[in-house]
């Protein structure tokens, strides 16, 4: 059964179903949309359950040749990294759709766009053919652009345009890179071109060519992540987008950039990756500090969370380019965790915005008195975002930091300062919005409804679950990450430092360890 094809197709089918709904019955659109968005989640859970832990990285392989001559194929597979990107996508979309109850205008179009977006994102994470990957990567742009420009707030036109222009320019570089690489791969297999990622892996590309290709791919992905200094589209897009748009942008779309770097840059251009790692890591660390510093003084709560994303994504970039088993696993884990915590924060901001129609921090004050449950979940999400141990954010950040120190000690020590700044911007914002005497304008606001609680509880449970027991996730990421490091070590002169892989420490230091007893 072509389960991955089905997975990608489901949201598109769902979009078609919504398109066919009678125009006279607008009230059924919302429940039907939630219903059809749950279908991909069911498939994702099936994948999670069936994903084998025998060490095989790519599973559920599917391959249908589209063009023999140009070497294009509908080639899908899932490994430990894409598995969780798919699950994250499938979890966040139903929640984002359920959080769109306040959308009145053109609801049908809105839901169709959301589902098309979901299908395209899933395609990005599943495609192993670079041209198919690129197609999905571009399709994502269109519904997102429309969502921001049609349902966004005051400066939506500006923000949507900025988003499209930034990303499209990155895509231009990416397309050139893919075509060049495709022709090179074609030479290798005796065809006009080949866009099969696995064929490309077997090629031997000269270091200078690698540099150019790395730059082409890297710019596209760096804009998407976004990496400093390409991040200025993000605060505008996140802030102006409707709630669901912000959730998906931060939760899933940014991960496409990090995923691209992991999947393509690291394995296809190993020499260039090793050479350029310091540059990207430096930019990542600048992003950590700069994003956090900028977040502190934002007067708009949504913009504050947007800047916090710049900071958090910087950790992920640092981990990716530190090339240790720990740092890479931490980065993938942080990609999941950031999706959950930042998704939660954007959802919460949307819920209060639906009530008050303001995002200015100064319009609030003392809200914890009026909406205690809301305040509690907000504080929980804030601490999760600030990396409190026991919650998912800590596992990712901590693993990144410890792993990155092995190869990039100075940068990692500086990156650690982001942990202090995160506490500053989140707790200061919480103080101004939720504590002190109640702002009289907020009197009469209702606490979270059952629907809103039902949206938040799964996220809360996942954040705690992943924080306390990340092992099942880590165990699935591990082989895929090891494969990337094997590839780096095999194809470049890079050497993983001591303890940079999962090691049996007891045999190294030669002591008996009485753990495990009790």
């Amino acid at each position: 059964m072509p389960v991955l094809t089905i997975l990608i197709a489901l949201p598109f089918v769902g979009a078609a179903i919504i398109g066919l709904l009678p125009r006279r019955r607008p009230e059924v659109v919302f429940p039907v949309a939630i219903g059809v968005s749950v279908a991909p989640l069911a498939v994702a859970i099936y994948l999670l359950a069936e994903y084998s832990l025998d060490g095989t990285t790519f599973q559920f392989f599917e391959n249908y040749v589209l063009s023999e001559r140009f070497g294009i194929a509908w080639e899908l597979a899932i490994d430990g990294i894409s598995l969780f990107m798919v699950v994250l996508t499938a979890v966040l979309f139903p929640l984002a759709i359920a959080a769109s109850a306040s959308v009145r205008d053109k609801l049908k179009t809105y839901m169709i766009l959301m589902l098309v977006l979901e299908g395209a994102v899933l395609g990005v994470f599943l495609a192993l053919d670079l041209l198919v990957f690129f197609a999905f990567f571009e399709i994502v742009l269109i519904p997102m652009y429309l969502l921001i420009s049609m349902w966004g707030s005051d400066r939506r036109a500006y923000a949507a345009l900025k988003f499209v222009v930034f990303t499209a320019i990155g895509s231009a570089f990416l397309l050139v890179g893919i075509i060049v690489l495709g022709i090179l791969a074609g030479d290798a297999v005796g065809a006009t071109s080949s866009f099969d990622w696995r064929v490309m892996l077997s090629m031997d590309i000269s270091e200078s060519t690698q540099m150019w290709l790395f730059a082409g791919f890297g710019i596209a992905f760096a804009i998407k992540v976004p990496l400093f200094p390409f991040h200025t589209w993000l605060p505008d897009a996140h802030t102006e987008a409707p709630t669901a748009g912000s959730v998906i942008l931060a939760g899933v779309l940014l991960k496409m950039g990090a995923y691209g770097l992991l999947r393509f840059n690291l394995s296809l251009f190993p020499d260039a990756s090793v050479d350029l790692a310091p540059v990207l890591a430096v930019l990542g660390v600048i992003g950590i500090i700069y994003g956090a510093a900028a977040a502190i003084v934002q007067p708009d709560i949504k913009r504050l969370v947007a800047y916090s994303s710049v900071s958090h994504m910087g950790f992920i970039i640092l981990g990716i380019f530190a090339f240790t088993s720990q740092s890479l696993q931490g980065s993938v884990f942080q990609m999941i965790s950031h999706g959950l915590t930042t998704g939660a924060l954007f959802l919460l901001i949307g819920m209060i915005y639906d009530r008050t129609h303001t995002r200015a921090i100064s319009d609030y004050g003392g809200l914890a008195k009026q909406m205690p449950v809301y305040a509690g979940i907000f504080l929980f999400s804030a601490f999760a975002s600030a990396g409190l141990p026991g919650l998912s954010g800590f596992v990712g950040e901590f693993t990144i930091l410890v792993g990155s120190y092995l190869t990039l000690p100075v940068l990692t020590i500086i990156a650690g300062l982001g942990v202090i700044l995160a506490a500053v911007y989140l707790l200061w914002a919480y103080e101004r919005v939720f504590t002190g005497p109640l702002n009289p304008k907020l009197e009469g606001l209702k606490d979270l409804s059952f629907r809103e609680l039902a949206i938040m509880v799964p996220l809360v449970v996942l954040i705690i679950g992943l924080g306390v027991y990340p092992k099942p996730v880590m165990d699935r990421i591990q082989p895929s990450v090891e494969q990337i490091i094997d590839r780096l070590e095999g194809a470049s002169d890079y050497q993983v430092p001591e303890f940079g892989r999962l090691t049996d420490v007891e045999s190294v230091v030669g002591v008996g360890h009485e753990g495990g007893g009790g």
């Binding site: 900028a294 504590t435 092992k471 303890f499 090691t503 230091v509």
Partner: protein, 623 residues
């Protein structure tokens, strides 16, 4: 029973969850009893295994719970040894008493169940911290106590000062946590693990002196945050915004001693880094002195105790710094009793005075509150270092160990003696102003003794305050033998003969009595001395250190943040707009442009892309 150690952590955690989710339905006072019961149960489970160490027929053991972060080799694993057993007893014992006390103290608060939920969360977090078998799990507890402290300081969050104090405590502690994080990075790079048994078993062979110094100094940064040492002590006085039982439990008896505990746990590493020891001891002594001086000038009864706590923590840090780990932990223990007692007593007084905290408006409470008076009296003598109360023995051990180092260490000993005088002075001032002399309360105040739920904890703590010092006298070192397995292989402080110890003890006793006498003569009068102007005013505001930080750290930090924020708009986007204008005017010459913006971003992106490529080639080529 040792196998059930995980329950010691789990029970308060469940208690916290029960009161968090069902507290409203359970209501007062049952939710309080659930909270108390959870902690008492933990205490009872831990007693028997702890006694095993006293009897000398138990070995330290580790208890594997589950694999936490596999790639770092981190397991959720608990270490049960004398040191963790001792701390577990303090945390659950003093904790249970303070839960009991809170049932009376928090009576009528609309968020009564929530308070007990947070208190239980704190107990569970603190137990994770002290029972951890590796640094990563210890850090979990370390951060979670920070969280509980934040929640409890800002418990009355509608009060802006309380909310601000909670935030300040968490952020200042986070600065310390950064030190802990970096220390862990260094530890992992050196050992490939966070497990105590491997690290302490192999450290002398693995760590160079430089590395050991770096790790221990970073750990001390963390300890300075939690244990309120220079320059990170500034959060603790503000933390008094929390309800008084919180001040007693978290900001006096337990959490603030976490830094001292962590350094004692890491004794093997500190032994490898003599320079760190010197720095730690010096900062400990300096903190003790500064805080004691400030305590002398305070008028708010809780603020006196807050600065006193900082000062006493300085003693403990001094002890750890000179390598007298047992003495540091001993003072930690006795301090937990008498300082918790002092805070609870102060709470009892504040409760009786309907919230009044200014000692100038107290006086003559002796007859109105006899139990509070007598128990606090014991704590007063203990902290002042009067024979044979507990504080005398523990403080004396630290000072003797410092003296025994000789050389420049005499100076630190001298500071310790000065602090001893000041301690006796400000505590006498507090005691006399509160309980003796003529009543100075308003006519409408009706002070009364507190209910039994509040006085019973006072009496129990009072008993320990009086007697606990006797477990470790120079003549009978039970405490030291008890802790021996935890400090295995670390040499004792040398050069301490019984004659020297006795003479040094006499010196500290004499100066303590002197401090008491001076304060007694000054304050046991009908007309209180006027303490305003000059030195008094400056000390009252803690010598303006908060303002200093505000001016030199917070304000510039904020300006930097605003700069970063504006740089986005002005420099990065602004460059785009500049290019846009250029592109547009160029474009207009050729053809009217519709979408200047598109070109703007195309322009800036192209420039950025070219820049990246250039950097790429330059850096790449240079490799």
């Amino acid at each position: 029973m040792t196998d059930l150690i995980w329950l010691v952590v789990a029970i308060p955690l469940v208690g916290a969850a029960v009161n968090l989710f069902l507290g409203k339905r359970i209501g007062e006072p049952l939710s309080g009893w659930i909270g108390f019961g959870a902690v008492a149960a933990s205490f009872l489970i831990a007693v028997e295994p702890m006694l095993g160490f006293f009897a000398g027929d138990s070995e330290p053991s580790t208890h594997f719970l589950f694999s936490w972060i596999p790639v770092l080799g981190v397991n959720a694993e608990l270490l049960w040894d004398p040191l963790s057993a001792l701390l577990t007893m303090i945390v659950t014992g003093v904790g249970a008493l303070i839960h009991l006390y809170s049932i009376g103290y928090m009576h009528g608060d609309e968020r009564f169940p929530r308070f007990f939920s947070y208190l239980n969360l704190f107990i569970a977090s603190m137990l994770i911290l002290v029972l951890a078998a590796n640094y990563a799990v210890m850090f979990v507890g370390w951060e979670l106590v920070g969280l509980s402290s934040y929640l409890l300081i800002s418990f009355w969050f509608t009060k802006p000062t309380a909310a601000a104090a909670g935030k300040k405590a968490f952020i200042v502690n986070r600065i310390g946590d950064w030190g802990f994080l970096v220390a862990m990075m260094l530890i992992f790079a050196a050992f490939g693990t966070f497990d105590f048994d491997i690290i302490f078993g192999t450290a002398p062979g693995v760590l160079s002196v430089t590395m050991a110094t770096a790790i221990t100094l970073l750990l001390f940064v963390a300890a300075a945050g939690k244990s309120a040492q220079l320059p990170l002590y500034i959060w603790l006085p503000d933390a008094m915004e929390g309800p008084t039982p919180v001040s007693a439990l978290i900001h006096a008896a337990t959490m603030v001693t976490a830094g001292v505990f962590m350094m004692a746990r890491s004794a093997v590493l500190f032994e490898l880094a003599p320079v760190s020891g010197g720095i730690v001891a010096t900062i400990g002594a300096a903190t003790a002195l500064l805080a004691a001086v400030i305590a002398v000038s305070q008028r708010d009864i809780k603020r006196v105790l807050a600065y006193s706590t900082i000062s006493q923590l300085g003693y403990m840090v001094l002890g750890v710094g000179v390598g007298a780990y047992t003495a540091g932990v001993f003072h930690l223990t006795t301090h937990a009793f008498f300082k918790a007692l002092l805070f609870l007593g102060a709470g009892s007084v504040i409760h009786a005075m309907s919230g009044e905290q200014d000692m100038a408006k107290m006086g003559g409470l002796r007859k109105k509150m006899p139990i509070t008076f007598f128990t606090m009296g014991a704590a007063w003598l203990a902290i002042s270092g009067i024979f044979p109360f507990s504080g005398f023995w523990s403080k004396d051990e630290i000072l003797a160990a410092t003296f025994a180092q000789g050389g420049a260490w005499y100076l630190l000993w001298g500071i310790g003696i000065v602090v001893a005088v000041l301690t006796a002075f400000y505590m006498t001032r507090l005691f006399v102003l509160t309980f003796l002399g003529k009543p100075r309360w308003d006519a409408d105040a009706h002070p009364h003794e507190s209910p039994a739920s509040m006085t019973i904890p006072l009496i129990v703590l009072g008993a320990f305050t009086v007697s606990f010092g006797l477990v470790n006298t120079p003549f009978r070192l039970s405490f030291e033998h008890f802790l021996e397995p935890s400090f295995h292989g670390i040499p004792h402080v040398e050069g301490l003969t019984n004659v020297l110890i006795t003479s040094l003890a006499s010196v500290t006793l004499v100066v303590a009595i002197a401090g008491i006498v001076v304060a007694w003569r000054r304050y046991r009068v009908d007309e209180l001395p006027v303490e305003v102007g000059g030195w008094w005013d400056r000390a009252l505001v803690g010598f303006g250190v908060d303002d200093l930080y505000g001016r030199w750290i917070v304000a510039p930090g904020r300006r930097a943040s605003e700069l970063a924020s504006r740089a986005d708009a002005v420099v990065l986007d602004g460059a785009a707009h500049g290019i846009a204008t250029g592109v547009r005017s160029a474009g207009e010459a050729l053809k009217p442009v519709q979408s200047g913006r598109v070109r703007t971003y195309a322009g800036i992106l192209a420039v950025a892309a070219v820049a990246l490529v250039v950097v790429t080639v330059l850096v790449g080529g240079g490799f």
